[in-house]
Amino acid sequence: MGMWLFLFTELILFGGLFIVYAVYRFKHPEEFRLAAAELDTLVGTVNTIILLTSSLTVAMSITALQEGKKHLSLLLIGTTILFAVAFMVNKYFEWGHKFSLGIYPGSPDLTNKPQGEILYFGLYFVMTGLHALHVIIGVVVLLFVMVFIARGSVNKDSYVKLEAGGLYWHLVDIIWIFLFPLFYLIH
Protein backbone atom coordinates (compact mmCIF):
# COMPACT_ATOMS: atom_id res chain seq x y z
CA MET A 1 0.00 0.00 0.00
CA GLY A 2 2.71 2.47 0.99
CA MET A 3 4.61 1.53 -2.12
CA TRP A 4 1.63 2.40 -4.28
CA LEU A 5 1.38 5.82 -2.60
CA PHE A 6 5.00 6.40 -3.50
CA LEU A 7 4.30 5.32 -7.08
CA PHE A 8 1.56 7.97 -7.25
CA THR A 9 4.13 10.66 -6.47
CA GLU A 10 6.21 9.30 -9.33
CA LEU A 11 3.15 9.60 -11.53
CA ILE A 12 2.93 13.30 -10.68
CA LEU A 13 6.64 13.78 -11.37
CA PHE A 14 6.57 12.22 -14.84
CA GLY A 15 2.99 13.39 -15.41
CA GLY A 16 4.11 16.99 -15.16
CA LEU A 17 6.74 16.36 -17.80
CA PHE A 18 4.21 14.64 -20.05
CA ILE A 19 2.01 17.75 -19.84
CA VAL A 20 4.97 19.94 -20.83
CA TYR A 21 5.60 17.56 -23.72
CA ALA A 22 1.94 17.66 -24.82
CA VAL A 23 1.82 21.46 -24.86
CA TYR A 24 5.09 21.93 -26.74
CA ARG A 25 4.24 19.22 -29.20
CA PHE A 26 0.95 20.97 -29.86
CA LYS A 27 2.81 24.23 -30.39
CA HIS A 28 5.52 22.83 -32.67
CA PRO A 29 4.08 19.72 -34.39
CA GLU A 30 6.30 19.83 -37.49
CA GLU A 31 9.56 20.41 -35.64
CA PHE A 32 8.77 17.67 -33.15
CA ARG A 33 8.16 15.30 -36.04
CA LEU A 34 11.47 16.21 -37.71
CA ALA A 35 13.42 15.92 -34.47
CA ALA A 36 11.80 12.58 -33.61
CA ALA A 37 12.88 11.21 -36.98
CA GLU A 38 16.49 11.61 -35.81
CA LEU A 39 16.00 9.03 -33.05
CA ASP A 40 16.76 5.42 -33.85
CA THR A 41 13.48 3.47 -33.67
CA LEU A 42 15.38 0.17 -33.60
CA VAL A 43 17.30 1.11 -30.44
CA GLY A 44 14.06 2.22 -28.83
CA THR A 45 12.28 -0.98 -29.81
CA VAL A 46 15.12 -3.17 -28.51
CA ASN A 47 15.07 -1.28 -25.21
CA THR A 48 11.30 -1.71 -24.99
CA ILE A 49 11.65 -5.47 -25.43
CA ILE A 50 14.47 -5.54 -22.86
CA LEU A 51 12.37 -3.73 -20.25
CA LEU A 52 9.25 -5.82 -20.89
CA THR A 53 11.29 -8.98 -20.47
CA SER A 54 12.90 -7.67 -17.29
CA SER A 55 9.42 -7.02 -15.91
CA LEU A 56 8.56 -10.61 -16.71
CA THR A 57 11.57 -12.01 -14.86
CA VAL A 58 11.01 -9.88 -11.76
CA ALA A 59 7.32 -10.88 -11.69
CA MET A 60 8.30 -14.56 -11.98
CA SER A 61 10.84 -14.16 -9.17
CA ILE A 62 7.93 -13.43 -6.80
CA THR A 63 6.13 -16.61 -7.87
CA ALA A 64 9.38 -18.55 -7.44
CA LEU A 65 9.87 -17.24 -3.91
CA GLN A 66 6.23 -17.99 -3.04
CA GLU A 67 6.92 -21.56 -4.08
CA GLY A 68 9.96 -21.56 -1.82
CA LYS A 69 12.43 -21.75 -4.72
CA LYS A 70 14.98 -19.33 -3.34
CA HIS A 71 17.70 -19.92 -5.90
CA LEU A 72 15.37 -19.65 -8.86
CA SER A 73 14.05 -16.40 -7.42
CA LEU A 74 17.58 -15.02 -7.03
CA LEU A 75 18.43 -16.13 -10.55
CA LEU A 76 15.37 -14.36 -11.96
CA ILE A 77 16.13 -11.10 -10.14
CA GLY A 78 19.73 -11.37 -11.32
CA THR A 79 18.42 -11.73 -14.88
CA THR A 80 16.32 -8.62 -14.39
CA ILE A 81 19.41 -6.70 -13.32
CA LEU A 82 21.32 -7.96 -16.36
CA PHE A 83 18.51 -6.70 -18.59
CA ALA A 84 18.66 -3.36 -16.80
CA VAL A 85 22.38 -3.16 -17.49
CA ALA A 86 21.74 -4.03 -21.16
CA PHE A 87 19.18 -1.22 -21.29
CA MET A 88 21.69 1.25 -19.87
CA VAL A 89 24.43 0.13 -22.28
CA ASN A 90 22.04 0.74 -25.17
CA LYS A 91 21.15 4.12 -23.72
CA TYR A 92 24.83 4.94 -23.33
CA PHE A 93 25.54 4.26 -26.99
CA GLU A 94 22.41 6.08 -28.07
CA TRP A 95 23.26 9.20 -26.12
CA GLY A 96 26.91 8.89 -27.12
CA HIS A 97 25.85 8.84 -30.75
CA LYS A 98 23.71 11.95 -30.24
CA PHE A 99 26.63 13.70 -28.53
CA SER A 100 28.97 12.85 -31.40
CA LEU A 101 26.45 14.41 -33.77
CA GLY A 102 26.70 17.55 -31.67
CA ILE A 103 23.29 17.10 -30.08
CA TYR A 104 23.56 17.57 -26.35
CA PRO A 105 22.01 20.12 -23.99
CA GLY A 106 23.37 23.56 -24.78
CA SER A 107 25.52 22.45 -27.73
CA PRO A 108 26.09 25.00 -30.51
CA ASP A 109 24.58 22.66 -33.14
CA LEU A 110 21.46 22.25 -31.09
CA THR A 111 20.96 25.88 -30.14
CA ASN A 112 21.08 26.79 -33.84
CA LYS A 113 18.14 24.51 -34.58
CA PRO A 114 14.55 25.76 -34.68
CA GLN A 115 12.97 26.31 -31.28
CA GLY A 116 10.69 23.27 -31.52
CA GLU A 117 13.63 20.92 -32.05
CA ILE A 118 15.53 22.48 -29.15
CA LEU A 119 12.48 21.86 -26.95
CA TYR A 120 12.11 18.32 -28.24
CA PHE A 121 15.69 17.37 -27.49
CA GLY A 122 15.56 19.18 -24.16
CA LEU A 123 12.58 17.08 -23.15
CA TYR A 124 14.17 13.98 -24.64
CA PHE A 125 17.29 14.36 -22.50
CA VAL A 126 15.41 15.31 -19.34
CA MET A 127 12.75 12.60 -19.58
CA THR A 128 14.89 9.69 -20.77
CA GLY A 129 17.62 10.85 -18.37
CA LEU A 130 15.24 10.87 -15.42
CA HIS A 131 13.97 7.48 -16.53
CA ALA A 132 17.54 6.15 -16.75
CA LEU A 133 18.11 7.42 -13.21
CA HIS A 134 15.09 5.37 -12.15
CA VAL A 135 16.56 2.32 -13.85
CA ILE A 136 19.77 2.77 -11.84
CA ILE A 137 17.82 3.21 -8.59
CA GLY A 138 15.76 0.15 -9.48
CA VAL A 139 18.94 -1.91 -9.91
CA VAL A 140 20.21 -0.79 -6.49
CA VAL A 141 16.86 -1.65 -4.88
CA LEU A 142 16.81 -5.09 -6.52
CA LEU A 143 20.40 -5.73 -5.41
CA PHE A 144 19.36 -5.04 -1.82
CA VAL A 145 16.38 -7.37 -2.20
CA MET A 146 18.73 -10.08 -3.50
CA VAL A 147 20.90 -9.70 -0.40
CA PHE A 148 17.81 -9.95 1.82
CA ILE A 149 16.68 -13.11 0.03
CA ALA A 150 20.15 -14.64 0.21
CA ARG A 151 20.27 -13.93 3.95
CA GLY A 152 16.76 -15.28 4.37
CA SER A 153 15.12 -12.17 5.85
CA VAL A 154 12.99 -12.03 2.71
CA ASN A 155 11.54 -15.49 2.27
CA LYS A 156 8.58 -17.65 1.28
CA ASP A 157 6.36 -16.26 4.02
CA SER A 158 7.52 -12.65 4.13
CA TYR A 159 8.32 -11.08 0.82
CA VAL A 160 6.88 -7.55 0.99
CA LYS A 161 10.29 -6.09 0.16
CA LEU A 162 10.52 -8.15 -3.00
CA GLU A 163 7.00 -7.10 -3.97
CA ALA A 164 7.84 -3.43 -3.38
CA GLY A 165 11.04 -3.73 -5.43
CA GLY A 166 9.05 -5.46 -8.17
CA LEU A 167 6.38 -2.74 -8.16
CA TYR A 168 9.04 -0.08 -8.52
CA TRP A 169 10.57 -1.96 -11.41
CA HIS A 170 7.21 -2.30 -13.18
CA LEU A 171 6.69 1.44 -12.78
CA VAL A 172 9.99 2.02 -14.57
CA ASP A 173 8.70 -0.27 -17.32
CA ILE A 174 5.36 1.58 -17.57
CA ILE A 175 7.06 4.98 -17.85
CA TRP A 176 9.12 3.63 -20.73
CA ILE A 177 5.97 2.20 -22.35
CA PHE A 178 4.82 5.82 -22.71
CA LEU A 179 8.19 7.45 -23.43
CA PHE A 180 8.90 5.05 -26.28
CA PRO A 181 5.99 5.95 -28.61
CA LEU A 182 6.08 9.64 -27.68
CA PHE A 183 9.74 10.11 -28.52
CA TYR A 184 10.60 7.37 -31.01
CA LEU A 185 7.43 6.67 -32.97
CA ILE A 186 5.68 9.93 -33.66
CA HIS A 187 7.32 10.93 -36.95
Binding site: F8, L11, I19, A22, F26, S55, I174
Partner: protein
Protein backbone atom coordinates in the same frame (compact mmCIF):
# COMPACT_ATOMS: atom_id res chain seq x y z
CA UNK B 1 -9.88 -26.13 9.64
CA UNK B 2 -6.27 -26.55 8.64
CA UNK B 3 -7.49 -27.02 5.13
CA UNK B 4 -9.42 -23.82 5.32
CA UNK B 5 -6.42 -21.92 6.61
CA UNK B 6 -4.29 -23.33 3.88
CA UNK B 7 -6.86 -22.24 1.34
CA UNK B 8 -7.04 -18.80 2.86
CA UNK B 9 -3.28 -18.39 2.74
CA UNK B 10 -3.12 -19.50 -0.86
CA UNK B 11 -5.76 -17.00 -1.71
CA UNK B 12 -3.94 -14.22 0.07
CA UNK B 13 -0.72 -15.04 -1.69
CA UNK B 14 -2.42 -14.71 -5.07
CA UNK B 15 0.42 -16.49 -6.72
CA UNK B 16 0.46 -16.14 -10.50
CA UNK B 17 1.75 -19.04 -12.56
CA UNK B 18 4.76 -18.67 -14.85
CA UNK B 19 2.57 -19.60 -17.80
CA UNK B 20 0.23 -16.67 -17.17
CA UNK B 21 3.18 -14.30 -16.94
CA UNK B 22 4.74 -15.59 -20.14
CA UNK B 23 1.42 -15.33 -21.94
CA UNK B 24 1.11 -11.72 -20.83
CA UNK B 25 4.69 -11.04 -21.86
CA UNK B 26 3.98 -12.41 -25.36
CA UNK B 27 0.93 -10.17 -25.54
CA UNK B 28 3.02 -7.16 -24.56
CA UNK B 29 5.58 -7.99 -27.24
CA UNK B 30 2.80 -8.30 -29.82
CA UNK B 31 1.43 -4.89 -28.83
CA UNK B 32 4.94 -3.42 -29.11
CA UNK B 33 5.23 -4.87 -32.61
CA UNK B 34 1.84 -3.41 -33.42
CA UNK B 35 2.67 0.09 -32.22
CA UNK B 36 6.01 0.05 -34.07
CA UNK B 37 4.46 -1.07 -37.36
CA UNK B 38 1.56 1.37 -37.02
CA UNK B 39 4.09 4.18 -36.64
CA UNK B 40 5.36 3.34 -40.12
CA UNK B 41 1.96 4.17 -41.58
CA UNK B 42 0.94 7.78 -41.99
CA UNK B 43 -2.19 8.05 -39.91
CA UNK B 44 -1.99 11.81 -39.63
CA UNK B 45 -3.40 13.09 -36.37
CA UNK B 46 -4.39 9.56 -35.34
CA UNK B 47 -0.75 8.59 -34.89
CA UNK B 48 -0.60 9.93 -31.36
CA UNK B 49 -4.04 8.58 -30.47
CA UNK B 50 -3.26 5.00 -31.54
CA UNK B 51 0.17 5.17 -29.87
CA UNK B 52 -1.34 6.34 -26.59
CA UNK B 53 -4.19 3.83 -26.71
CA UNK B 54 -1.74 0.94 -27.21
CA UNK B 55 0.54 2.31 -24.46
CA UNK B 56 -2.46 2.51 -22.11
CA UNK B 57 -3.47 -1.07 -22.88
CA UNK B 58 0.09 -2.21 -22.24
CA UNK B 59 0.34 -0.41 -18.89
CA UNK B 60 -3.06 -1.72 -17.81
CA UNK B 61 -1.85 -5.25 -18.53
CA UNK B 62 1.38 -4.65 -16.62
CA UNK B 63 -0.49 -3.20 -13.63
CA UNK B 64 -3.15 -5.90 -13.64
CA UNK B 65 -0.96 -8.98 -13.76
CA UNK B 66 2.70 -8.10 -13.20
CA UNK B 67 1.78 -5.73 -10.37
CA UNK B 68 -0.89 -8.11 -9.03
CA UNK B 69 -3.57 -5.43 -9.11
CA UNK B 70 -6.15 -7.91 -10.43
CA UNK B 71 -5.84 -9.83 -7.19
CA UNK B 72 -6.02 -6.92 -4.78
CA UNK B 73 -9.14 -5.88 -2.88
CA UNK B 74 -11.73 -3.97 -4.82
CA UNK B 75 -11.34 -0.83 -2.69
CA UNK B 76 -7.64 -0.82 -3.47
CA UNK B 77 -8.27 -1.07 -7.19
CA UNK B 78 -10.72 1.83 -6.94
CA UNK B 79 -8.04 3.79 -5.14
CA UNK B 80 -5.53 3.29 -7.97
CA UNK B 81 -8.19 4.05 -10.57
CA UNK B 82 -9.05 7.35 -8.85
CA UNK B 83 -5.40 8.39 -8.91
CA UNK B 84 -5.10 7.55 -12.61
CA UNK B 85 -8.37 9.24 -13.59
CA UNK B 86 -7.37 12.37 -11.65
CA UNK B 87 -4.11 12.36 -13.55
CA UNK B 88 -5.86 12.02 -16.92
CA UNK B 89 -8.20 14.90 -15.98
CA UNK B 90 -5.19 17.06 -15.08
CA UNK B 91 -3.56 16.36 -18.42
CA UNK B 92 -6.67 16.92 -20.50
CA UNK B 93 -7.74 20.09 -18.65
CA UNK B 94 -4.28 21.59 -18.96
CA UNK B 95 -4.16 20.67 -22.59
CA UNK B 96 -7.61 21.99 -23.45
CA UNK B 97 -6.95 25.19 -21.58
CA UNK B 98 -3.84 25.64 -23.67
CA UNK B 99 -5.44 24.58 -26.94
CA UNK B 100 -8.41 26.92 -26.72
CA UNK B 101 -6.99 29.93 -24.96
Amino acid sequence: MADHEQHHRDKKQHSVSYGQFILLWLGLLALTGMTVSLAGIDLGRWVIVTALVIASIKSTLVMGTFMHLRFEDRIFRVFVAVALVTFVIFISLTFFDYAFS
